[in-house]
Symmetry: none
Subunit: 189 residues, 4 copies
Amino acid sequence: MRSAAAREAILAATARQFQLRGYDNLTIEGIAKEAGVGKQTIYRWWPSRGALIAECLTDGRLFPVDFDIPVSGPVLDDVETWLDRVLAVLHSPGGSGLLRSLVAAAAEDDAVGQHLSEGIGVEQSLHTRLTLAVRAGELPADAPVDQLGSAILGAIIVQALGREEADAEGLRELVRFLLRPDGQAGSSA
Amino acid sequence: MRSAAAREAILAATARQFQLRGYDNLTIEGIAKEAGVGKQTIYRWWPSRGALIAECLTDGRLFPVDFDIPVSGPVLDDVETWLDRVLAVLHSPGGSGLLRSLVAAAAEDDAVGQHLSEGIGVEQSLHTRLTLAVRAGELPADAPVDQLGSAILGAIIVQALGREEADAEGLRELVRFLLRPDGQAGSSA
Amino acid sequence: MRSAAAREAILAATARQFQLRGYDNLTIEGIAKEAGVGKQTIYRWWPSRGALIAECLTDGRLFPVDFDIPVSGPVLDDVETWLDRVLAVLHSPGGSGLLRSLVAAAAEDDAVGQHLSEGIGVEQSLHTRLTLAVRAGELPADAPVDQLGSAILGAIIVQALGREEADAEGLRELVRFLLRPDGQAGSSA
Amino acid sequence: MRSAAAREAILAATARQFQLRGYDNLTIEGIAKEAGVGKQTIYRWWPSRGALIAECLTDGRLFPVDFDIPVSGPVLDDVETWLDRVLAVLHSPGGSGLLRSLVAAAAEDDAVGQHLSEGIGVEQSLHTRLTLAVRAGELPADAPVDQLGSAILGAIIVQALGREEADAEGLRELVRFLLRPDGQAGSSA
DNA sequence: GACTAAGCGAGACGGTACGTCGGGTCTTACG
DNA sequence: CGTAAGACCCGACGTACCGTCTCGCTTAGTC
């Protein structure tokens, strides 16, 4: 009979340590100590450090915010609103480190990787909003909405990996370009 | 007096171990042993595991191939050719694992992150080719070529992180959409 | 209401494990599993590993034989007969290991120590037989029969602890010397 | 190149912990911590807890005293003098616990067992003194001096194992009986 | 003849120690 | 003086058992 209290304490400690110290530097012993739990109790229910992170991810314990996209105007405006929200988190102290840690975890652990998209919820949100846009005729009918989501998220990740100071304007440009309402800018030329 | 032989042996061993066993599982001791070198010799010249990887990266020792983009026709064709090359490497055994390892290294280590783009050379190549395309009027003058490169690379990375079977067709669609020669694909049709 | 079946299974399992794997390497969990019993059932009735052994000891479950001394001739002959029996057990496979395990248990656990002599029954038997011998005038009236028993048993234990190949002849010599019927060898001098 | 300082610290810590807490309760981690040493350094040079004890034993670190037997009068007097010394140690606080711990170690570990006699030095001392006595005609020419040593030591051990309050008088009686200067003590009376 | 209450098997729990791996620093001996 | 070798202290790994603690499930007596 599994102890709910232990489960809760472990996941909470995992999330806290992850945010505090990053994916590497995350130790089972540290989690166990902070959670006031024996190591065996962790190993009994999770096969690996990654599985812990994956569960925190799907529980929404790693990000204190959600990234829903509003549906209140033209796609472009809505997505820019969303982008600002995302960038705000990234610029907050520890924000980009958190993203990098998450990427590291996803890169090293299958379980985390498989839950990455659902975890950040970004692809899901984008997908939904872009699909609506396609239906509304704001985007071409053949726009590969899934891929566009990956591309935008991917661009953010690539920036974070590069340790460039997050280039908000560049990302906005990208979004504007990707979602340009009709004929490409300068089409009249 | 730095020993060139030692340097060479160390970097070669690092690259081999990285490809063979991934970024985590990469140990200084393992490298030292394989290189026939004392651990101290490594620590004397490189401050961290990441620095080793970073140097392998800029030396082009991690990927056996280069990803130059041809300039022989319409951008779209050239980029698709390049994409096929990239996907071939990714589908080869260990290919996606290698990419993930690289992403893990970049996510965990600043030095690697800062050299990531130059290392894979992808952004560089794309940037160059797309700039040409802009000049040739194939792409709108205000197309954010840097961001487009990041987006394409990012989409590939996001796929790899997700452990989805690399979706070649999706990526091709994305590229076609991003580089669609004129206004909204078929929107006027 | 104590379950007789559980008690029996536990003691049997304890004895078997003790003979099989020795005193250290003897685990409560192992006993519980072999006995098909919950750990709690053991802890409910015995305070410690040692108490289990002590009870096996007094139940005569650790040695498959008893070490009664015959009363059929001169003390010396009877004791030598007994000694042969003891040595036979000691030379049998696992015999000296069993004795060492028992000594270890007695050394580490008070309960076992207190029941050691009654457990092997050796001192008891020797005491009885030697007392008879004193009465019969075979031994001096002031012979310290208790101490003689301890000495003989002790000599056997010391040999076993030393991992010397059990020196049967030496022990026989000792016994002959201790129980030399009257005037010591060379008494006529 | 082995560190002499580490060796010394480890053996000292081992001896102290052994005297303080007994053989069981003796942990490698405890020794390492007290010695200010990494566990690996212990495992590098000693295969087991027992090997540590064995080395302390042969180094004479476990007993603060030596048990030489004087040669200054009749055997019996000399041995009684020696016995008093031994009993004094045994009666000192922790004395019998120390002996029991040593017996436990010898019983559970081959290395300790093989060095037991040389470690306490008791058998050696007794052997030497008794041999002299045989030469001097104080003991019969065929007295099994080795076995007599084992018997005396063994009797002491058996007493200690039994948790009887060490029966000094009994042991003195035993010694007097074993080494009675001529024929059966008082048999002619 | 249903109803407790104890004993039971099972096994999760917070811990301690195990023996191993690798990190990064150091010392030694050689070329 | 840089090097190969490797010992050193340390922190963490994943495992084994400890002794305590629920859990439901028998299984007796008792009402």
